[in-house]
């Protein structure tokens, strides 16, 4: 066996071993590397009140309700199967709107309402121009 072939064989074995180790690490990370929990996951495995988590899903259609104090909103986060009621006081990102993705940081209160301390908007992978000429930034009305 030529020295070059020996080095090549060793390198290939090493690369395969590294890829294998990487996959093992990824399998281990699988549940822990997620940024947020979905309503379905929370329904299956309830989170005790007061424990900080991130909740992610879609803002249900027609669910955003402005409260009388003017800064608090109630809305529902859903993922097609389960729903979670959320309350938030503060300024939401421009892209926060109904039928759009959201990641809320906060904790459940004793009655099962998720009290969000921070709201992040999650948009999907689609990019397209506004539907009509003259409508400059359709996203800013959310």
């Amino acid at each position: 066996m030529k020295a070059k072939h020996q080095r090549l064989t060793l390198a290939i074995i090493a690369v395969v071993a590294v890829i294998g180790a990487g996959f093992l690490a990824l399998i281990g990370l699988r549940d822990n590397a997620a940024l947020f929990r979905t309503p379905t996951e929370i329904a299956a495995e309830p989170v005790p009140p007061g424990q900080s988590i991130r909740l992610g899903g879609m803002v249900a259609d027609g669910s955003i309700v402005q409260q009388a104090d003017g800064v608090t909103i109630d809305f529902i986060v859903e993922d097609g199967e389960a729903q979670v009621p959320v309350r938030f006081s503060g300024i939401t990102p421009d892209l926060f709107q109904e039928n759009s993705g959201v990641v809320a940081e906060g904790a459940f209160d004793a009655r099962g309402t998720f009290i969000a301390t921070n709201i992040l908007a999650k948009h999907d992978e689609n990019y397209m121009p506004p539907p009509m000429e003259g409508m400059e930034t359709a996203g800013n009305d959310g």
Partner: protein
Amino acid sequence: MHAFANPTRFLSIARPLTLWLFWPGFALAVFALGTGLFYTPPDYLQGESVRIIYVHVPTNWLAMAGWSGIAVASLVQLVWRHPLAGVAARAIAVPGALFAALGLITGSIWGRPTWGTWWVWDGRLTSTLVLFFLYLGYIALASASSERGETSRVTAIFGILGAINLPVIHYSVTWWNSLHQPQSITTGGSAIDSSILWPLPISALGFTLIFGAIVLMRMRAIIAGNRVEARLRRMAQG
């Protein structure tokens, strides 16, 4: 491939090629960024902030392509002992780190108006930050352990090992739920409307040519530095 092993021969090609890569790349990048800023329509949801895509995607593509280059060059160095492979790997590291930083910065600037945050520890952002740190580690290791102009074997092994992060970055938005949206451009097509998309490949090509020119310049600088060092050593012994 060993035809280019001779540095003199390599330099005679690399010198004119640097200009042939840089100026067309510069022209393409300026054209693509100009049309991306002033000509293409805004996004229906994000508005004008979508225009940062013409910098954000090419810089991140090059940050990842750069490490792929380091990994391949390191493998060639270890297995075939090609004398220029180590030089190429080291030449990629600094522009690679720069583009990784630019990708993180443009992403952060884009994230503030769209997501509502500069930074979040999701899979895509974290793995890209790890890539930036890998570049810094590679640069430190290469400069600490290289002797007589040779890239050390430890550096080459690190270059190959670091490549494990590349599929993690790519699939991070598929494997784990994240704030960053999934891939827009896949082999199945593009989720970006063609009116917004078309300057993007031009911009990516332009930035890639500029990146190639920077790598060639750095390779020439490293070879020149090695020659100076070798001559000084001979004189000192002389």
